[in-house]
């Protein structure tokens, strides 16, 4: 309990300070912070439609955020969730429009499983093996794989097999049997939300209630000690990236089957990058990931109404996100320094 409260303090303080800095910026540029934040809040949560859209935006963040968090737990920084999201999206859409004659439950499951496997392998094979066997830094390899994935999707949609002839490069629409139903009609909120919550529970269970999770965390805390304890470190590194990629791929699949229903040509979904911020703010806690995802989803849906109502550019929400990361990163340090100081006073006490 004590630990849970401590875990909540850092992100909460970071959010409060960042929101206050945002308010100062608004005052300096001649806006009323209360009106602006009021518009942001009601735009994010103020009606069934707004709340549904915020929750819908949170779904891909929760899933890819879980992926980033599980990699962090194993000591790996998967910065390429964006690319894994694209691989998952491509695979899900492809199964979604090309496989005929399946009942919905099978068609949806098949799309999701193929998407997760494809994205898992995308992260596990190249960045995973490169990390495990030659020590190539996963920040670079996952980022490079991300670019390759995005160019691959451009190729598929502009010249390749997934292209649908038309004015804009896009894939065919998935079949009705592959479509996830809506929770609230006429909004973007699909039953993907249930998938996201279940995924959260599974990741929590995996990390904290199984031997595998224990080993992953041991590798993350101290890979050398884990090695001496007889844990196969390379295997667990590859596995962590594989699971991480699977979750980002699931995010893509759920977004395709539940919201977009087809793949559009674009340079970035943005979810893969925000997922990193989500995992950081949540301190890699699976349930924290849900809260952090709702927070960032609310910033993005609410930011639009803030701009419309109060004239404050929606980009201010990105400034706030950046400040939050800064504070979360430095706040940890403040705690580490405290610990150092404590240790030093203990040591000097012994000498005396």
């Amino acid at each position: 309990m004590q630990k849970t409260i401590e875990g909540l303090v850092t992100p909460f303080v970071a959010i409060v300070i960042a929101v206050l800095i945002g308010a100062v910026v608004m005052l300096m540029t001649g806006h009323n912070p209360l009106t602006a934040y009021g518009a942001l809040f009601s735009g994010a949560f103020g009606s069934t439609v707004n709340l549904s859209n915020t929750m819908a935006n949170a779904i891909p963040l929760i899933l890819s955020g879980l992926g980033v968090a599980i990699a962090f737990k194993a000591g790996l920084f998967n910065i390429g969730a964006e690319g894994q999201y694209w691989i998952g999206s491509m695979a899900a859409v492809w199964i979604g429009y090309s496989v005929h004659g399946l009942p919905p439950i099978l068609h949806i499951s098949l799309s999701i499983i193929v998407a997760m496997l494809a994205a898992g392998l995308w992260a596990g094979i190249v960045p995973g093996l490169a990390k495990a066997f030659v020590g190539a830094h996963e920040v670079i390899t996952t980022m490079m794989m991300s670019y390759i994935a995005i160019f691959l999707s451009h190729y598929m949609l502009e010249n390749g097999p997934m292209m649908q002839t038309g004015f804009t490069p896009q894939s065919p629409v998935i079949l009705p049997s592959a479509t996830l139903g809506k929770i609230v009609e006429r909004t973007q909120l699909s039953w993907g939300l249930a998938i996201a919550v279940v995924a959260c529970i599974i990741v929590y269970w995996l990390l904290y209630k199984t031997t595998l999770g224990y080993r992953l965390r041991a590798v993350g805390l101290n890979s050398r000690a884990a090695n001496y304890a007889g844990i196969n470190v390379p295997f667990h590194l590859v596995l962590a990236l594989f699971i991480s990629g699977m979750l980002a791929g699931l995010a893509g699949a759920v977004q395709m089957l539940g919201v977009q229903h087809r793949l559009y040509d674009s340079f970035s979904s943005g979810y893969g990058f925000t997922a990193i911020v989500v995992a950081l703010l949540a301190n890699n806690n699976p349930f924290g990931v849900i809260l952090a995802s709702i927070f960032f989803a609310a910033l993005s849906t609410g930011g639009q109404s803030m701009q419309l109502v109060s004239g404050v550019p929606a980009h201010l929400t990105a400034v706030i996100s950046g400040i939050i990361i800064f504070l979360v990163a430095t706040k940890d340090i403040v705690q580490i320094q405290k610990r150092w100081r404590k240790r030093q006073t203990l040591a000097s006490g012994k000498e005396a």
Binding site: A136, M144, M145, F151, Y155, L280, A329
Partner: protein, 308 residues
């Protein structure tokens, strides 16, 4: 088709022009990482450079003052980055990510607040293109090297100076030594923290210049997220170039070539998107040791704690 493209001087001129905004931040990253600070913030610093370049250029009616102001802003945000990572020892990759998100938001916010939704004014002074007498008259070479934007020449000079600075001066040696073995450097009487600040700030100024080139060299305007991932590509170029100035330039030219070729070949038989993947794949191969092993400075990314 391919051969025709390769003999066209405009392909090579475009290669050089497109390599410049990758080479500058790659060079910046080299300085930072040689001093032991992993820097993935080049993307954000480029945006800062691009935006403030336009802002200062517009209000002072002088593109050179714009360039100067942008470099100062790049140095400023790098100082903040250095304080958090070097003094407080925060995770360098995470803070770098924070800088990128912060800079993207800040520049877009300020663009809307200061210039409104119509974008930056058209009458913003831009940095000139130079025509080098003598070189510009040589056939084939002339169109490639003889008339480029002034920042392109600046970049080439900076690559040479940086190589000399890092590998042939005392200060360069010191910067590299705190990136390889800060404990030993500290014992030898070097100020590890100050040298790391120097590496990060020089790096930030160079990255910022890359942004200035995009905003005042190629165009005379700022657009939201106009760096378009070049800061991350520069990271790859730096690694592929084995953390050296000439290597970074070489890798940047390779990336620039892939981009230029994909434009020239548009509508042809070879899908341009496949060509554009190649430099990223090569970077992974370089990291895994399959095409010449890239090894980072030994203390790269590890905060220095003098009490340990």
């Amino acid at each position: 088709m391919l051969w025709d493209a390769l003999t066209r001087p405009d392909l090579w001129a475009a290669t050089l022009a497109m390599a410049t905004p990758i080479a500058l931040p790659a060079l910046g990253g080299t300085f930072s990482e040689r001093s032991g600070v992993v820097n993935i913030a080049m993307e954000g610093i480029m945006l800062i450079g691009a935006f403030f370049g336009v802002l200062f250029s517009y209000y002072t009616h002088n593109a050179w003052l714009g360039l100067l102001g942008a470099i100062l802003m790049g140095a400023l945000i790098s100082t903040l980055f250095a304080y958090v990572t070097v003094n407080l020892g925060a995770d360098q990759v995470i803070v770098g990510m924070g800088v990128n998100i912060f800079a993207a938001g800040l520049t877009a916010f300020m663009l809307n607040e200061i210039f409104g939704y119509g974008g930056t004014p058209r009458e913003t002074p831009a940095l000139p293109n130079l025509t080098i007498p003598g070189i510009s008259d040589i056939p084939f070479v002339g169109p490639i090297l003889g008339s480029q934007n002034v920042v392109v020449y600046l970049m080439l000079m900076l690559v040479i100076t940086s190589h000399y600075f890092l590998f042939h001066t005392n200060l360069g040696l010191r910067i590299r030594s705190v990136g390889e073995n800060p404990q030993a450097a500290d014992t030898a009487g070097l100020n590890v923290l100050r040298l790391r600040y120097l590496g990060v700030i020089i790096g930030g100024m160079l990255s910022s210049l890359g942004g200035v080139y995009l905003a005042l060299g190629l165009l005379n305007s700022f657009e939201v997220n106009m760096s378009g991932g070049r800061g991350y590509i520069a990271l790859a170029a730096m690694i592929f170039g084995k953390w050296t100035p000439f290597g970074s330039l070489g890798a940047a030219l390779l990336f620039g070539f892939a981009m230029a070729l994909s434009i020239v070949l548009q509508g042809g038989g070879v899908p341009s998107n496949i060509i554009q993947m190649l430099p990223y794949a090569l970077t992974i191969l370089a990291l895994t040791g399959l095409v010449g092993r890239s090894t980072p400075p030994a203390a790269d990314g590890i905060p220095y704690d003098p009490n340990k």
